[in-house]
């Protein structure tokens, strides 16, 4: 019985790599978020947008918020990493990048198995996610 169960339940090698990468990335992302948030709210690093201004703006639309605070969109936050608020974007970005990293593992696995349909699907997904992440689509301007 156990043998039957083990066979049925045995995940593939790539699936295990995917899971390991994911668990590492997620918890690392959460820990980074907590640490950077602490740095932000305690003022260890001064923020780009003063915290006392934010409550006056968080009920406005994002366009107005970006205009008033002179905040960047897209990957512009990279140039403001020395600021407490934008430091938090390291954690957000890590969480949002995890899936792309994991898909690269899947793509390699399907290529090895010569599973062309699923290699193509995995590759297309990487392209779609990378396009979304690039900021080319819908990041708008202000």
């Amino acid at each position: 019985m156990n043998t039957q169960k083990d066979q049925v339940h045995k995940p593939s090698r790539d699936q295990i790599i995917y899971a390991n990468l994911l668990i590492l990335g997620v918890w690392l992302g959460i820990v980074i978020l907590v640490i950077t948030y602490f740095i932000y709210v305690t003022g260890i690093l001064s923020p780009h947008v003063d915290m006392s201004i934010i409550p006056k703006l968080w009920d406005k639309g994002v366009t107005q918020y970006l205009e008033v605070t002179h905040s960047p969109h897209g990957w512009g936050w990279l140039s403001l990493l020395g600021k407490g608020d934008f430091l938090n974007y390291i954690g957000f970005t890590l969480l949002a990048l995890m899936t792309i990293g994991c898909y690269l593992v899947l793509f390699r696995g399907y290529l090895r198995q010569k599973d062309w349909i699923f290699s193509a699907i995995a590759l297309l997904e990487i392209v779609v996610l990378s396009l979304a992440a690039s900021g080319i689509m819908g990041s708008g301007s202000h």
Partner: protein, 325 residues
């Protein structure tokens, strides 16, 4: 002993419900008092938000729904944040929850990668379009999004009431698309102590439905587990356990693409984003522990009521009626 434990859990649950329903409502009532303090007290709403999300995380796990579907309508309805930020952070919240659940589901071989990959490609592509559309509509008039969100949330509540998922749907013949993609598998049913073989039917229609699911996820910033499971289970004939696990895994992909659009647009403000994500993650961990001794059916009914209320509140806010406070 067990009865005492169940009673304490139920008591704790009632307390959580009170926090979820009363905390933001009372906070809204105190809004005028808080307004003056808010000029300097930037921490006021983020602190409430953290504890609210903690309670929401417990509730979401116990009710078997994603955090995003509760977060967006409740936070947009009862907190002073613009819908743009709520949707962006709602997606990050749903994404973090789905990513955290992913490893366990993959290791236990419950989430089916072959099923998830084609579906995810469609849903994630459409969620990008949905996110762009949602941001465009809210730039025209945020009330449009608020009203549509309310209608969608009420629709989700109705769906939760009436959809009767099937544990092991009978699929007599697999369609050509499902066959070509190899959408099928075997999983171990611990209850019945047997391995269960499954395959999909009505695959093209199911894949088409994920266009709509992806669009809705992007427009409203909702995790789409509420839609994934019925489509996979009721329409495509995937067993419930595999549907639920694959749906959770799917969210980590669908929400990623939409989350990037909102994040790149500047909709994720750290001051309110981090307490939301951390609060919900911590709440989910507590929820998993409580789940062992709680009665999920009762909780599910309460969540449905909360969703109805949140949906009506969103409509009320969008129409500017002010009937629900």
């Amino acid at each position: 002993m067990i009865n005492t434990r169940v009673r304490s859990v139920n008591l704790l649950f009632v307390l959580i419900m009170l926090i979820v329903l009363y905390f933001p409502a009372s906070a809204s009532g105190l809004e005028h008092l808080a307004t003056e303090a808010m000029d300097t007290a930037w921490w006021f709403w983020p602190t409430i938000l953290f504890f609210f999300c903690l309670a929401l995380g417990v509730l979401a796990v116990m009710a078997g729904v994603g955090g995003g579907v509760l977060y967006v309508p409740l936070v947009s309805g009862f907190f002073p944040f613009h819908i743009d930020f709520v949707r962006g952070i709602g997606l990050m919240v749903a994404l973090a929850g789905a990513l955290a659940a992913g490893p366990g589901l993959l290791r236990r071989n419950l989430a089916n990668l072959r099923l998830a990959l084609p579906v995810a490609l469609i849903a994630s592509t459409c969620s990008i379009m949905g996110a762009i559309l949602g941001l465009y509509l809210s730039s025209l008039n945020p009330d449009i999004i608020q009203i549509c969100l309310g209608v969608t949330i009420v629709g989700i509540a109705v769906l939760l009431v009436f959809s009767k998922n099937t544990e092991k749907p009978v699929v007599k013949k697999q369609d050509a698309v499902g066959l070509a993609l190899g959408l099928g598998g075997t999983y171990w049913d611990d209850g019945a102590r047997e391995s269960v073989e499954w395959k999909t039917h009505r695959t093209p229609l199911g894949l088409f439905m994920f266009i709509i699911v992806g669009l809705l996820a992007g427009v409203f910033g909702l995790g789409a587990g509420w839609a994934n499971v019925p489509v996979l289970n009721l329409l495509m004939g995937v067993p419930l356990k595999v549907s639920v696990a694959t749906s959770k895994f799917l969210l980590s992909i669908t929400d990623t693409s939409a989350a990037w659009i909102y994040m790149n647009r500047g909709c994720v403000i750290p001051l309110i984003g981090v307490p939301s994500i951390v609060g919900l993650m911590m709440g989910s961990l507590i929820g998993v522990k409580i789940l062992a001794v709680a009665k999920p059916k009762m909780i599910r009914y309460i969540v449905i009521v909360v969703l109805f209320f949140a949906g009506l509140k969103a409509i009320d806010k969008g129409l500017g009626l002010g009937l629900l406070g």
